[in-house]
């Protein structure tokens, strides 16, 4: 079972990504997708595939993988099964940056203004969390993150509160619900370098996370640089999740849920959770993105983040109860 887990999840990622290329308001045939990918034609289906669905699929896979991976890293680092990328204030910081862009109308000046400001917000909060927790340990990092998270969320609410007109408030709300609609190759280009570097930084923490299962003191005595690991995880999360939130809005629960789904399958070892959690995250976000396109209730499209929370929260509850029964 264990040996087949990663290949199996890899195949599932490819399958969901292919389905995502086909699904939507206009359903395509696999043959249409193939010809539009291979031949250089300019008909409607080629345009849909190359300009609309392809960047969307790439973003959903990359964002899901980043959220799953950073969730797995943070849960291992903080030895807390409830840790997720939101805990350190990174996603709230990205939200605040983006909301400021919308609020002050910077968003209308050029296409990437909102995600760029989101990225700045994420990096800003990460630096703040790092400075505040510099001298302390893991607990002070959690507390600093929680405080910064609250401050950023307060800022978001303030913007909603003082919104100059209902349209601005509506735009902010829609953005906060998370979505991959109308994302283009420009968004991919903006997010890709940050998501990739975040991925590398987070993956480097693997072995340290295994030793950290024994606690900070034992890990340190085994030659693991605990402070450096914390730094890698925080900067990796800021880059990866910051970029993900900046282009797609708030997508919760994936970072929390993905590691829990695979943990029992890999013997609970923190390092071996990383890759499967990233793959599960990619599958979850891609599936949810398909669902938001296919399921339309009363004309309004459902937010990606809303859909994931709606499905994810009860499932997570079931998982917690189930896991509690099996493990002491």
């Amino acid at each position: 079972m264990n040996r087949w887990l990663v290949p199996l999840l890899g195949v599932l990622v490819v399958v969901t990504a292919c389905v995502s290329l086909l699904a939507g308001t206009v359903w395509l045939q696999p043959a249409q997708v193939l010809t539009s990918l291979l031949a250089d034609r300019l008909d409607l289906s080629s345009l849909i595939v190359s300009e609309i669905r392809m960047p969307r699929v790439i973003l959903s896979v990359a964002i899901g993988a980043t959220l799953g991976l950073s969730g797995a890293v943070l849960q291992g680092l903080l030895r807390n099964p409830l840790a997720d990328p939101g805990l350190l204030g990174v996603s709230a910081g990205a939200s605040l940056g983006a909301v400021i862009a919308i609020y002050y109308g910077i968003a209308t000046s050029f296409t990437l203004a909102t995600p760029l400001m989101g990225l700045l917000g994420a990096l800003g909060t990460a630096v703040a969390a790092l400075l505040l927790s510099r001298s302390g340990g893991t607990l002070s990092l959690i507390l600093a993150g929680a405080a910064i998270n609250s401050i950023a969320l307060a800022g978001v609410n303030l913007a909603l509160n003082l919104a100059p007109n209902p349209y601005a408030a509506y735009e902010i709300m829609t953005w906060l619900m998370g979505s991959l609609a109308d994302r283009s190759w420009e968004h991919v280009q903006l997010a890709a370098p940050f998501i990739l570097s975040g991925f590398v930084l987070l993956a480097l923490t693997g072995r340290a996370l295994d030793a950290l299962a024994l606690g900070d003191a034992q890990a340190e005595s085994l030659g693991v640089p605990v402070a450096r690991t914390r730094l890698l995880a925080l900067i990796g999360t800021a880059c990866g999740v910051g970029a993900a939130t900046a282009v797609a809005g708030t997508v919760g629960f994936v970072g929390l849920l993905a590691p829990h789904l695979v943990r029992p399958l890999v013997g609970y070892e923190p390092r071996r959770i990383l890759l499967p959690a990233a793959l599960v995250g990619a599958i979850l976000v891609t599936l949810a993105d398909i669902a938001t396109r296919v399921l339309v209730f009363g004309g309004a499209p459902m937010g990606l983040g809303v859909f994931i929370s709606l499905i994810g929260a009860p499932f997570f509850l079931w998982l917690v109860l189930h896991v509690r029964k099996r493990t002491p």
Partner: protein, 255 residues
């Protein structure tokens, strides 16, 4: 050769001086007990001796080398440290927890190389853990967990083993079992240091004693030199009698 020498070590935590100009020596082939009342600085002295806590002043020598001159990884290979109530947070299997003790021996990339597998089997066998190697550590009893953590510490066969209160929370049989294992490590030529509150076990199994009180060195020497009525009574501020009992002796606290 792998004696640890702590000289003139001072440690401050905020305005408080936790250790004040402490000198101590932990010799190889000896089981040294660090004793003293709560808050005397035992755990701090152990952390300093492991090289994990840099002191405000003073220095720590390992053999002929300054401990700060030894690389992080090499130091981790040469000395093992078990903090108080060591445990693991996830339900990882006993075998994998023991394997974590080989972290400093791993190559830069990849998993556990096959030539290290016999080491894990040896540690499991020495600690009577072979039968429960696939059990999750969170499902073990206190004694089994202590054995697992001990196996984790000795799996790389370190020259130096430093253990903080290995008998805390264990029943007498398991406490004796743990100290016997430490004794065996010392007899095998390693430097073994333990902070401990059970003076009977010190009397019976240790070679040397370092006594701390209020962050200062109170007494140091062989068991016979330190474990006397006068020294122990003054150390703990209670009347203590060392009562001969056949070949060994027992400790009695009087009011």
């Amino acid at each position: 050769m792998s004696d640890i020498t702590v000289s003139h070590v001072t440690v401050r935590r905020g305005p408080q001086t936790v250790l004040n100009q402490v000198n101590a020596q932990f010799k190889s082939r000896k089981l040294t007990a660090v004793i003293g009342p709560n808050g005397a600085g035992k755990s701090t002295l152990l952390s300093v001796a492991t090289g994990l806590l840099p002191p405000a002043s003073g220095e720590i020598m390992l053999g002929g080398e300054k401990i700060t001159a030894i690389g992080r990884k090499e130091l981790a290979r040469r000395r093992a440290f078990l903090p108080q109530r060591a445990s693991a947070d996830w339900p990882i299997s006993v075998e994998r927890v023991v394997a974590l003790g080989l972290t400093p021996n791993l190559p830069a990339f990849g998993g556990l190389p096959p030539f290290l597998l016999p080491e894990i089997d040896r540690a499991l066998r020495e600690c009577d853990l072979l039968a429960m190697r696939h059990r999750p550590v969170t499902a073990l009893s206190g004694g089994e967990l202590a054995r697992t953590m001990f196996a984790r510490a000795i799996v790389g066969d370190p020259e130096i083993l430093i253990v903080d209160e290995p008998t805390a929370g264990l029943d007498p049989r398991h406490a004796i079992d743990v100290v016997r294992r430490l004794r065996a490590r010392a007899d095998a030529g390693r430097t073994v240091v333990m902070a401990i509150h059970d003076l009977d076990l010190v009397l019976r199994h240790a070679d040397a004693v370092v006594a701390l009180r209020d962050g200062e060195l109170f007494a140091a020497g062989t068991v016979a030199e330190v474990m006397t009525n006068a020294t122990l009574s003054a150390l703990y501020d209670v009347q203590v009698r060392v009562i001969p009992d056949g070949e060994t002796a027992g400790i009695r606290f009087l009011d």
